[in-house]
C-alpha cells in the first residue's frame, strides 16, 4: 500500500451537467484562500452531455502537484450521484477514503433503455461501507429544493463537505469564496444551498 504522500486528494464524481466543475472550484478557491497549493482538474466539454465526469482536487502545503490522483489515493470522495460515486471509488478509493454521497440517482441511458440495471442503492451503500473508511449520505436534491433551486445540488454538496469537518477550512472562507463567485439572487441561492448542506452533515457527524 503506497502512502498517500504529502498531498491531500479529493475526487468529486458526478454526471455531466451536475456542476462538478463549480463544486471543485469552490473548494479549490477556498484552499487557495487558506494558503494551500492547489491543483484542480476537471473533465468538461463533451463529457457534460450526460457522461460520467470527475474532478480531481489535490491540496498540498508546500509544492505544486500534478493534476491527477494516483489510483487508490483519494482521501475524500464526493459523489454527486450514487453510481458515479462507486465508479470513482473502484479506481481511486481505498480503506482510508471518506465518502460523501448525494443519494439521488441519475439513470444512465442504458438503464432507461432497459439494457442495463441500476444497482439497488442498498447494494451500492454496502459496497462503499465494505471498501472505504466511512460514508455520509446527503439527499442533496431535496435539500437543494429547500434552499430554493434544484440546480444547486453541487453547492449543497460543497456545504455538506464543509460540514463534515473532514476539510481543514473555516466555513467563513467558503462563504467568502461563494460571495466572490456569484452576485445578487444567484449568490443568495448558492449561499442558502451551501448553508443547508453544512447543517445537514454537521448534525450527522457532530462537527462544527
Amino acid at each position: 500500500m503506497g502512502t498517500p504522500g504529502d498531498n491531500f486528494n479529493i475526487v468529486i464524481a458526478g454526471v455531466g451537467g451536475q456542476g462538478n466543475v463549480l463544486a471543485c472550484q469552490m473548494i479549490g478557491m477556498t484552499a487557495v484562500e487558506e494558503g494551500w497549493q492547489v491543483s484542480a482538474a476537471d473533465t468538461f466539454g463533451v463529457s457534460q452531455r450526460g457522461g460520467a465526469v470527475m474532478s480531481h482536487l489535490r491540496l498540498s502545503r508546500d509544492k505544486p502537484c500534478g493534476p491527477l490522483i494516483p489510483a487508490g489515493q483519494a482521501d475524500i470522495a464526493v459523489g454527486l450521484e450514487p453510481l458515479e460515486t462507486v465508479r470513482v471509488l473502484r479506481t481511486f478509493g481505498g480503506y482510508h477514503t471518506r465518502v460523501l454521497m448525494n443519494s439521488r440517482p441519475n439513470y444512465p441511458l442504458a438503464v432507461l433503455c432497459g439494457e442495463a440495471e441500476y444497482p439497488p442503492l442498498d447494494e451500492l451503500r454496502q459496497a462503499i461501507r465494505e471498501h472505504c473508511r466511512e460514508v455520509v449520505e446527503v439527499p442533496a436534491d431535496q435539500l437543494a429544493r429547500q434552499g430554493g433551486s434544484w440546480v444547486t445540488q453541487n453547492t449543497v454538496m460543497t456545504g455538506a463537505l464543509a460540514g463534515t469537518g473532514w476539510m481543514p477550512f473555516a466555513i467563513e472562507t467558503y462563504e467568502r469564496v461563494i460571495k466572490s463567485l456569484f452576485s445578487g439572487r444567484v449568490h443568495q441561492l448558492n449561499l442558502a444551498a451551501f448553508r443547508v448542506g453544512v447543517r445537514a452533515t454537521s448534525r450527522k457527524t457532530g462537527a462544527a
Partner: protein, 638 residues
C-alpha cells in the same frame, strides 16, 4: 470559467487559474494586441478570458469563422508590428496548417503565439491527435507547459522568442493543463503605446528561399532552449535512470520517483521546449544514464527525437536502454500510445523499469457491484434529439436506406444511442457535406439511397459553404440539414456569424443562414424540430427528387433556452400513462431516450425527472396517449 479573475489588476495576488485562464492572463500580461480563434475544446475558453480584458487593455478579440482565417488575421497583426495570439484545438491546426507552413517560410514581425489544444483520451474530441508533429512540419518552435503557472509564463516568453526569431511560436496544451487549475501569481499589465503599420520593407512572401531562414531560425531557437527556464532537472548529478518528461506527465514522474523511493538513482528531466530540443542539455544527462524512460502524452515525439539524438552521439552517450512507447513500457490509460497518462501508469512503468516493487501493485479489491456505463447523451430538451428522431422517421418512411452523414459538433453524438445510431460517417468539420456531394454523384453507378448530411450552424460557416457550392455547381443529389441551435454549443456557446454578436456580446450584423444558402441558388426551407411531424414531412419531401437542398432545423440550444424560457412545468399525468399496457413500449423513457424521461418502477409508469428536464415539451407531443402535460404557471415570487 471565471473571466473576472483573469483580468484582475492585482499584481502579486495568488489566483487559482485553469490553464486556459493562465494562457489568457499570460497573453494580457505580455501585451497582446490581437487575439483570434475558432472555439475548440480543450482551449475554447482562452479567447473568452482575453475578451473579458479587451476593453480595459485595448485588445482586439475576434471569434473567427475558422482557424485558418483566425491565424491569418493574427499574422496580419504581427506583420504590422503588433503582438497577436491565435487559439485552436489540434483539429483546427490541421485546418490552418496550409497557411502556417507558408507563414513560417515568410516569417513574422510582432510576436505571434499559437495556442493548440491537444486532447489525450479525446475527452471532448473525436481524436487524440498529437499536434507537435505539425509544429515540426511547419518549422516552428513547440513548447509544452506542465500546469497553469508555467503556461502563463510560457506565453510571455513565447512572445519574446517569436520576436527574436521572427517566427510564430506554438504552445501545445493538453486537456489536463487546459482544464486544471493551479495557483498562479498575477503579474502586471503593460502600458504599451502601439502603432500598427507596415513599412515598405516589411514584405512577407512565401518562397523557396525561405526554407534556409526557417532552418536558421530553428537553430537559434534550439540555442535559446539550452538555457530555457522551462527545462528543469531534479535528481542525482549522475542518474542511473533518466526520465525525460513533458507536460503533466512530469508531475506524475516526480511523484512516482518519490512514492517508489527512487530519488537516489532516478532523475527527472522535464522538457518545456519540446521542439527544437535542447540537445546539449539532453546529452549532459543522457551520458550518465543507463536507462531512459520517456513520459509524454500521445505519440513518441520526444522519444523518437531523443533516440535519434542518442544515435547521432552514440560515442559520447554510450550504450543506453530506452523505455517508452516503442518498447511498450509506458502506456496511456487506453494502452501504449493510447489515451492520456495517469500517475498510476507512470508509477507502474517506473517500477517495471527500475525493478519490480510490489508497493505500487494494488489490485482492485473484489466485491464492487457491476456498474452500468454512462453513454453520452443529448441534453434534456436538446433540439438535436427531435431533429434526429425526425430524420430517422423520414428516412424509414422513405424506405430506401437513406444515409446520414455527420461531422463535428454536439450532433456528433448522433453516432450513438442518443441519436439512434443514425450517423454513418463522421470525420472533420463540414466533411459530411463534401462526402454527400460525392455520394450525390453516384447514381450513375447505381447508387439509389438518399443522402442526408447534418451540420451545425457554426460548422456551416466554418467549412460547409465550399462543399455546398461544389454540390450545387456539379449537380449533386442530397439534402443538407443545418441543425441551427443558434450558437456554438459543444464548446460552450460561443457566437458565430449567424448570431449577430461579438465575443463580448456587442452587436454585429448577422449573416443569416437562409441568405447564404439562397445566395448559392439552393432551395432552403426552415422548420422547427420541436414540431416533429412537420420536420419529418420536410425531410421526407426533400429526399424525393434530384438536386441539392437545404433544410434549416432551427431551435435554440436547450441549455440557453432553459435559462430564459417561460414558467413551464412538464410532468407525466400517471393516471393517463398506460405503462407497459400502452403498446408504446415505453416510448418516452426507453426509445426517445431523453435523460429526463425516466421509468417509475414502483408505479410501472413513465415519469419526468424535473430536476434535469429543460421543459421543451417534445415528449408531450409524441406520447401516444397524451399523458405528458406541459403546464404554464405563474412563477412564484420569492
Amino acid at each position: 470559467m471565471n473571466t473576472m479573475r483573469v483580468v484582475l489588476d492585482a499584481p502579486g495576488q495568488v489566483a487559482l487559474l485553469t490553464g486556459n485562464e493562465a494562457v489568457a492572463r499570460g497573453a494580457l500580461e505580455a501585451g497582446v494586441n490581437y487575439a483570434a480563434a475558432y472555439p475548440g475544446s480543450p482551449t475554447a475558453e482562452v479567447l473568452e478570458c482575453i475578451a473579458a480584458g479587451a476593453e480595459m487593455l485595448g485588445v482586439y478579440v475576434e471569434w473567427s469563422v475558422n482557424e485558418k482565417v483566425a491565424m491569418e488575421g493574427a499574422a496580419a497583426a504581427s506583420f504590422a508590428g503588433l503582438r497577436s495570439l491565435t487559439v485552436m484545438k489540434c483539429d483546427g491546426l490541421n485546418v490552418a496548417l496550409d497557411f502556417l507552413t507558408s507563414l513560417s517560410m515568410a516569417g513574422t514581425r510582432g510576436g505571434m503565439v499559437i495556442i493548440v489544444g491537444d486532447d489525450p483520451s479525446a475527452h471532448s474530441s473525436a481524436k487524440e491527435e498529437d499536434s507537435r508533429y505539425l509544429g515540426r512540419v511547419a518549422h516552428i518552435p513547440v513548447w509544452e507547459p506542465a500546469d497553469s503557472r508555467e503556461a502563463k509564463e510560457m506565453v510571455k516568453a513565447a512572445f519574446d522568442l517569436s520576436e527574436d526569431i521572427r517566427q510564430p511560436v506554438m504552445i501545445r496544451m493538453v486537456t489536463r493543463v487546459c482544464h486544471a487549475s493551479t495557483n498562479a501569481v498575477l503579474g502586471e499589465f503593460p502600458r504599451r503605446e502601439v502603432n500598427a503599420c507596415l513599412g515598405p520593407e516589411d514584405k512577407f512572401i512565401t518562397w523557396i528561399e525561405g526554407h534556409r531562414e526557417q532552418e536558421d531560425k530553428l537553430r537559434r531557437a534550439a540555442h535559446r532552449a539550452e538555457k530555457s527556464p522551462f527545462n528543469t532537472y531534479a535528481g542525482p548529478e549522475s542518474p542511473e535512470t533518466l526520465v525525460i518528461a513533458a507536460g503533466p506527465g512530469s508531475y506524475y514522474a516526480e511523484e512516482a520517483v518519490a512514492q517508489l523511493g527512487l530519488q537516489t538513482s532516478v532523475g527527472v528531466l522535464k522538457l518545456g521546449t519540446t521542439w527544437p530540443l535542447p540537445e546539449k542539455l539532453l546529452r549532459r544527462y543522457l551520458r550518465p544514464a543507463l536507462k531512459v524512460i520517456f513520459v509524454e502524452e500521445v505519440e513518441p515525439f520526444i522519444e523518437d527525437n531523443v533516440m535519434a539524438l542518442a544515435a547521432q552521439h552514440l560515442d559520447e552517450i554510450g550504450r543506453t536502454s530506452f523505455y517508452g512507447k516503442k518498447s511498450g513500457h509506458v502506456a496511456g490509460i487506453n494502452g501504449v500510445g493510447l489515451g492520456e497518462l495517469t500517475p498510476s501508469q507512470i508509477m507502474a512503468a517506473l517500477a517495471n523499469v527500475c525493478g519490480p516493487d510490489p508497493a505500487h501493485e494494488r489490485p482492485a479489491p473484489p466485491g464492487w457491484p457491476e456498474l452500468a456505463g454512462r453513454d453520452l447523451a443529448f441534453c434534456p430538451g436538446c433540439p438535436h434529439r427531435a431533429s434526429f428522431w425526425a430524420i430517422r422517421a423520414a428516412l424509414e418512411l422513405d424506405g430506401r436506406q437513406g444515409i446520414v452523414l455527420g461531422d463535428i459538433g454536439c450532433y456528433t453524438l448522433g453516432k450513438g444511442r442518443t441519436g439512434y445510431y443514425l450517423l454513418q460517417t463522421m470525420h472533420a468539420m463540414g466533411s459530411g457535406v463534401g462526402i454527400a456531394s460525392g455520394l450525390g454523384q453516384l447514381w450513375r453507378f447505381g447508387f439509389s439511397q438518399p443522402a442526408v448530411a447534418v451540420v451545425g450552424d457554426s460548422t456551416f460557416y466554418h467549412a460547409v459553404v465550399p462543399a455546398l457550392i461544389n454540390a450545387r455547381y456539379n449537380q449533386a443529389n442530397f439534402v443538407c440539414i443545418i441543425l441551427d441551435n443558434q450558437t456554438t454549443a459543444m464548446t460552450g456557446h460561443q457566437p458565430h456569424p449567424g448570431t449577430g454578436i461579438d465575443p463580448n456580446g456587442n452587436p454585429l450584423t448577422a449573416i443569416p443562414l437562409e441568405a447564404v444558402v439562397s445566395g448559392l441558388d439552393i432551395p432552403v426551407t426552415t422548420v422547427d424540430p420541436y414540431q416533429v411531424d412537420e420536420a419529418i414531412q420536410a425531410v421526407y419531401q426533400a429526399v424525393q427528387g434530384p438536386g441539392v437542398k437545404v433544410i434549416i432545423m432551427r431551435r435554440a440550444c436547450a441549455l440557453i433556452a432553459a435559462k430564459t424560457s417561460a414558467a413551464v412545468r412538464v410532468y407525466v399525468d400517471q393516471s393517463r400513462c398506460r405503462g407497459d399496457a400502452c403498446g408504446c413500449a415505453r416510448f418516452c423513457s426507453r426509445v426517445f431516450a431523453c435523460p429526463a424521461n425516466i421509468w417509475d418502477k414502483a408505479q410501472g409508469k413513465a415519469r419526468i425527472d424535473e430536476a434535469i428536464c429543460n421543459r421543451c415539451g417534445v415528449c408531450a407531443s409524441l406520447c401516444p396517449v397524451g399523458a405528458i402535460v406541459v403546464e404554464q404557471y405563474q412563477e412564484k415570487v420569492g
